[in-house]
Subunit: 433 residues, 2 copies
């Protein structure tokens, strides 16, 4: 992606800046926080993803000539505001949960300390990235947990916007997927890419046997042959006849996957292809993967469900002003009182309370004060930006490692797929101490 | 968006091309079609969107030095295939439903006539765009139908990937939304942009009264004041006191919208602000909009539900090889026999059968032959690309106009929000004639 990210912004952020500039409130020191009021229905934990992408997008958040010309022509804001936008550089501080961290209701995922105008203008871009990437990572983590040691391949590019696809591949990788079919994700984020074989390739040939022979000749016996275009058992027979026992994999993409996996495994073994793997790919989600745990399957290819957050395509995060300097010159917690959308004012700090054996016990949130570490706890907020400069890693492998660590700390009930409460309670310091 | 779109592609498309090039099958004349096997659960019609974006993305579908270097380094395909990709230019023909058209199960939304290799490599990009944009437009059309003459504003940018947001704004506009909050959609696609006011802006001030006064001073009395930060009726009182009866709008973003709309309307009228409009924005979807039909509401701001397809974030379209030249040199229909995923082979043609009064009656699909126009029918496939050159409009306003026309032709049952069958049946020519 080239170019400015500055117009990936809602119209009203700029008009609010105009009004605040005019009244002299634009430079008031403020704290904005991103958090989720709740987890998606019945989920036991969420996974933060997108943080690295936010930090990179902020570097390109510049109102250049093209952006300003558009705003001027459409009369979105006045000349003074255009001048302010032209000079815009985020110069504040940002703390946040490390990318890949698990989260719970109220966890302060991002804490932005800046002037009002510098912070408010980031709302849309920050939430777009966080809501999308975290929705995918949260679903993907349930899938990799259900898959255990069997690798998951992300194959959902065709089921989501072409750029979401790249971000989804990255988020799924962070949550433990082993590879993606998306080539741009390989190039842009260094995610391993993988592919199998297509029905159209088989149908292109006069006979399935020709398709298999040609694929093996070009791609070698380690390739994956797609065996469900016509008749599965006939295809497996031909596949092993042509490839020999060194055939890499066969792919099943339809029908009763549990029953077929057993049949195909038995057939492959009978034919001597004991090392040939079985890849399954038909409309899998975390529940289908769990149902295949006892079946002889080696890899899961997951599409629609992972890129669309398995029923929850947006993570429900909001970005709220929680504190600002008042006319008396001191910082004051603020919160709207709106029915059904009330929030908690004040700058948050967060700690994961752990038992001496390292198992997570509670999410401790301090308001305007740092919770005390009991000795086995883990600080959750890390500094991401210091006076406008990015000071944290933005790469996917670091986040993937962090996720594996953070998920392993959770009590075992966290990994149940059935509906339940959050795996650990969120406790505000006042209640805890 | 700058740069190449060529790597927005699944790994296996390229390995299939390698195998087809090696065996001499890559140049076989082929027909690929994009269609949906079914509508999302209970929907009565779908809306095709993304066609214009596909045509533009195809222009940038080039394997340049950067793309080739990545593929070489990762050893995705062999040298011969890299050479073929370097020269890639789509040189075939494409027909499709005009953007904004309504569709039904089996409607041939895109018909690609090219060699195997030229057509197969477009699968991922075509489906990403079509599945995303059509999911949004299909949901958005139900919302604008429920809203009637009241304008809908698309405000969901923060609930979806930052680039999906731009495409979603475009798709919603095609389906009848009047404007979007997304500035980049304004710049890139010419969609009108709109904004209201933010809670953070009110909270920035020591008092709500100061916030309103400053906003009015900077943005004028025609602005929209957000009245639910603390107490709605107190806020409305202050708003009219400060702005006078010429206050543009007030916005409600929480609580019981139906009840509040009635109360606020009565209060505004009592205060003499009879021309002040009421904008509502809290978690609206088509059902919430329908429930507000009798309430005194002037505008709907819709977020999460429109950009995530109101429960169906991917339209379920597939891209299948349906016909190819065999070794005998003639075109032959092909289809996989896979359990639960069978498709219909052969090149499709499509006609919307209409009664003499213009009301749509059936989707007539001809296989390898053009259905006969009964005199009142409408041809559905228009030529989009002729020998590699785009020959159809790609802009959103044309598609918006087409959608309004196509939806108006549907029988009235099509616009019911309750679960039901497709509004008109899909009939294959064999059965019809």
């Amino acid at each position: 992606m080239n170019g400015s990210t500055a117009l990936l912004t809602d119209h009203y952020e700029l008009t609010m800046i105009q009004a605040a500039l005019a009244s002299g409130h634009a430079d008031r020191p403020c704290v904005f926080e991103a958090f989720a009021r709740r987890l998606p229905d019945g989920r036991r934990y969420g996974v933060v993803a997108g943080t690295g992408r936010i930090l990179e997008a902020l570097r390109d958040f510049r109102f250049g000539e093209d952006e300003l010309a558009f705003l001027r022509e459409r009369q979105v804001v006045d000349g003074r505001t255009l001048g302010w936008l032209a000079d815009y550089r985020f110069s504040g501080d940002v703390w946040g949960y490390a990318e890949g961290e698990v989260y719970f209701p109220g966890s302060p995922l991002l804490v932005v300390e800046s002037t009002f105008a510098e912070g408010v203008v980031l709302e849309t871009l920050v939430l777009s990235i966080l809501n999308h990437d975290s929705a995918v990572a949260s679903a993907a983590s349930r899938m990799t947990a259900a898959a255990g040691d069997r690798p998951c391949i992300e194959m959902g590019s065709r089921r989501t916007h072409e750029e979401s696809a790249v971000a989804a591949a990255r988020a799924a990788y962070i949550a433990g997927f082993g590879s993606t079919s998306n080539l741009e994700a390989g190039r842009r984020h260094g995610i391993p890419t993988a592919g199998t074989a297509a029905h159209s390739y088989t149908l292109l040939h006069d006979a399935e046997r020709d398709a298999f022979a040609n694929q093996l000749a070009s791609l070698g016996p380690g390739t994956t042959l797609l065996v469900d275009t016509y008749d599965v058992s006939g295809a497996v027979e031909v596949a092993v006849e042509l490839a020999g026992p060194r055939l890499g994999s066969v792919r099943l993409d339809s029908g009763d996957l549990v029953g077929q996996a057993h049949e195909v495994r038995a057939q492959l073994d009978r034919l001597g292809a004991t090392g040939t793997r079985i890849v399954v790919t038909s409309d899998l989600d975390e529940h289908a993967i769990a149902a295949l745990q006892a079946a002889p399957v080696d890899r899961y290819g997951v599409g629609t469900s992972v890129v669309t957050g398995s029923g929850h395509p947006a993570a429900g995060m909001v970005y709220k002003l929680v504190s600002r300097q008042g006319s008396a010159g001191v910082m004051e917690g603020v919160a709207k009182a709106s029915k059904d959308k009330a929030s908690v004012g004040g700058r948050k700090f967060a700690l994961r309370r752990r038992r001496p054996d390292g198992v997570a016990q509670a999410e401790i949130i301090g308001i305007d004060e740092r919770p005390q570490d009991d000795g086995d706890d883990r600080e959750l907020l890390v500094r991401l930006i210091k006076r406008g400069q990015v000071v944290a890693p933005t790469d996917a492998p670091s986040a993937r490692e962090h996720h594996a660590m953070a998920r392993a700390e959770l009590p075992s009930r966290a990994l149940r797929l059935s509906h339940g409460d959050p795996a650990i309670p969120t406790t505000y310091l006042d209640d805890w101490s």
